[in-house]
Symmetry: C2
């Protein structure tokens, strides 16, 4: 079992990913694809005169401020990506089914009812944010699809305990799912070739991070921006029993096969 996360940031071309999924799918290996949608959600928001607002937590994480309207925009954007991935996979001969984390309560999450942010140096509380932290994973819908030889492709939303739709972090969703599915590998594909030691040099990726201490060091001292979250997700996946997490470049030929062969930052426990 391999879980593949396809980043939603700009500059990701899915062509090579689709070809590689097709190849791996033919070997009979079970897969789950989880995707993002940040760039399209941002662009759709702008087109709808409702551009996204990003907020920064006291610990320095940046996240999308998701009020009800932004949530609808996020749901539409991720759904369009989902349908297009399913379409392209079927064009390539893979019988895909598009789902989201709310279907069959695959992803239950706790809504962060208050969000503490920093604005102009001051702390502030936001109360109408629809983001969540995953609390429970139900892999049954994924299993029944895989057992019937369908490839599930999943949008990163979850259902709250109060049955609201929530925006959840795609990397962490993929990590939780990889753990519950007993995945051997979680491959996180994005527009960079791994954790870079020098952010200005795309070839400076660190090939291997091993053990809790190295992961924590990398998270706190090397990673910047979104990469911090990917390392937190990687750590969660390893704690949940995944053998290895590979952060790798989406924009090369056979990106998943290459990642599994070591091209990228390999993280293990």
């Amino acid at each position: 079992m391999i879980v593949v996360k396809i980043g939603g940031a700009s500059g990701i071309n899915t062509k090579h990913i689709i070809n590689d999924i097709t190849k791996i799918n033919k070997t009979g290996s079970d897969m789950l694809v989880v995707h993002g949608g940040s760039e399209l959600a941002t662009n759709l928001g702008k087109e709808l005169n409702y551009p996204p607002k990003f907020v920064t937590s006291p610990s320095g994480h940046t996240s999308r401020y998701t009020d009800k309207r932004t949530l609808d925009i996020f749901v539409m954007a991720t759904s369009l990506i989902n349908r297009n991935l399913v379409r392209t996979l079927q064009e390539s001969g893979v019988n895909a089914i598009g789902i989201s984390g709310i279907d069959g309560k695959i992803l239950s999450a706790r809504r962060k009812s208050t969000l503490r942010i920093v604005e102009n140096g001051k702390q502030k509380i936001i109360r109408d944010d629809y983001t969540g932290k995953i609390t429970c994973v139900n892999i049954m819908p994924i299993k029944i699809m895989q057992n019937a030889d369908y490839l599930p492709v999943m949008a990163p939303i979850a259902i709250s305990h109060e049955k609201e739709i929530l925006n959840v972090d795609g990397d962490r969703a993929a990590a939780e799912l990889a753990g519950k599915l007993d995945a051997k590998s979680l491959v996180i594909l994005s527009n960079v070739s791994g954790l870079l030691s020098d952010i200005a040099d795309p070839n400076s990726y660190i090939p291997k991070i091993t053990g809790k201490q190295e992961i924590e060091h990398a998270t706190n001292n090397i990673a910047q921006g979104r990469m911090k979250r990917k390392l937190i997700a990687a750590n969660e996946a390893l704690s949940a029993g995944v053998d290895q997490v590979i952060i790798a470049n989406a924009n090369i030929k056979s990106p998943i096969t290459n990642a599994l062969q070591g091209k990228g930052t390999i993280i293990n426990g």
Copy 2:
């Protein structure tokens, strides 16, 4: 097995529908829900400065002209409706899974590569329309979900033979599915109480239409606008083996139960 089509036109409140689905679901009866999305697609198009264009065929049918951009808008609108139905069903205790007709190739369709329309009294050909006529139905993904006690909720798009996404008529999609699923009843819920003999009188619905001749007469001589399509869909469902089709009002308490008890236009073979 009951197939329920929820119309996508304006003025449909899903609250009573959700309550009724919940009640019926508890009896253990297998269901499939198919929904539309026309109103939201129209509104989203307007918000995106891309309002819908409607075209009229030489035989007088009106349909949405679906170029590539309109298709994306339609996909986003129907997906948002789909996710919200799944969310509301789960709030009501029904374990729903949202799908679309492209998933697992549930609905294959032939793209109408040229569309003959009438504009200002003249015939014209349109070539970039992404609508289709369903040619093949694969009920396997629906069956595996129902067998695992999930309620599938489906958006009305299909995959073309060239693996494009197509906008398909929701009523006819529901009819084809009802046939393949050996459904006893297809309930088509909309904002009117049935086929009206007097369009100005909402209570003038014709209670019963029986046999091919009566259906054809009603289609050609009584029905107007969208209702023509519903009767064509009804006829297709009956030909495919469905026992009865009921066109009924969505906006009353227990609309499905009431429809099954005769409140609406009951059509049978």
